[in-house]
Symmetry: C2
Subunit: 251 residues, 2 copies
Amino acid sequence: MTKPFTSVWAREPRRPRSSGLGREQIVAAAVEMLDAEGLESLSMRKLGARLGAGATSLYWYVANKDELLELAMDEVWGLVEVPDPDRATWREVTTSTAYGLRVVLLEHPWLANLLGRMPMAGPHAFAMSDRLRRAFVRAGFTGLDVYLASGTLMGFVLGQVIPEIGIRQVSKDGRYDPATLVDVVERVAADYPEMRADFRQTVEMDPEAARAMAFDFALLCLLDGLAARLVAAGVAESSGQPADNGVPERR
Amino acid sequence: MTKPFTSVWAREPRRPRSSGLGREQIVAAAVEMLDAEGLESLSMRKLGARLGAGATSLYWYVANKDELLELAMDEVWGLVEVPDPDRATWREVTTSTAYGLRVVLLEHPWLANLLGRMPMAGPHAFAMSDRLRRAFVRAGFTGLDVYLASGTLMGFVLGQVIPEIGIRQVSKDGRYDPATLVDVVERVAADYPEMRADFRQTVEMDPEAARAMAFDFALLCLLDGLAARLVAAGVAESSGQPADNGVPERR
DNA sequence: ACCTGAACACCGTTCAAGT
DNA sequence: ACCTGAACACCGTTCAAGT
């Protein structure tokens, strides 16, 4: 009860008045800088400079850096497209949401670094979750299962993409170049011949294709698993609108 | 070819000689501090002080802070217990690995913040992956599917746990207290009545139990999905040793 | 071979002071 | 109401110098 509200989402933004500064432009500029330079190199000072303002001016619009990051994060959740659940089967909606979310995360890798540090509690995040929810409701999930199913899908994508980002990050920073990374893995994996064999197979592939393959495999698992939940609950599959078979064949 | 090796894993550690300092004690102390105070508040200066050394002495054993974090991370992967794949069904092995990994991540939340920043390329990480691999081989997966299946399981756990950590973090930092968090969500979710209803249901539960339920639901999906992959590949299920039915009933 | 201190170029945030 | 600059208490890392 001492400090009743300490969240960005609970406070009216300061008026987007006259001058160049305002919450919206600050957040927009922050997102741009984060995309361009990464989480590590965003500083209040640089951001201020970029907006032609003193570093400390930002504190009029935002309580601290973490709040700014929360706002930036939610901004990006707004970019994830979730198809209208009324115009596609649930498998289509979930599949395309998963791919869309993956792309957004890869384009804004700093998101991944923030997720373990603050919750997704902004309006865009909620809008996204709600659209996903509706897809699962139409699929036939009921009660808490709707909530559980959408959490499962969100988590799934995060878990697939975050390690991928970790790898990319390290080569973008120039810490490892790709050749070194291969070399390192070869060396550390020396004790595990089968792992090394698998690793070599994937190295020969286009790395993009290799990651996409892994994502597809995992997504297929998840969707089949979700479908199994429906069957267990006694719901007939194929609740989709478009008659032309929305359920992709399995393998 | 300019800088042939820039990875911790590619360089011999400096000799763990005489004095108190040495790579091992540095890493151990770092893990302790990370567990106690979190990623944000670990500094080379504080770590040095704790070891009774000048901050800059650490640079004899470690190229930079990121390398130290890489070492700390791998140290913790060593704590994940993966049961012997020869003594349990694959469902048992994967289930208990998933739970074990979840516990380790929750106990060392800074891990989650690091995963999107550097790859899991240390020896302990590889040892863990290899044990997981063997479980999937015994289950009947072949070729690249072994690699894909274990990546799927690892990713799954990360994705489930990372958002959970984000929420905990924010209340541990004293940024939101739990009551505020509920309030914030109520406010932002005001436009989505069904979501709010679900949210209320979970708030009434013990939060620990709510998260565990979500994890169980998602894990069940994943395992059913993996099993579906096996069926699609024409492998008979139940490859387990112990005859007494390793496959848990569905729901 | 190992450790140090001073120094450099940064941080986020507070706050009195300005307009 | 909005913005500023100086100031505080920090960072990681380099490097010449010590033992």
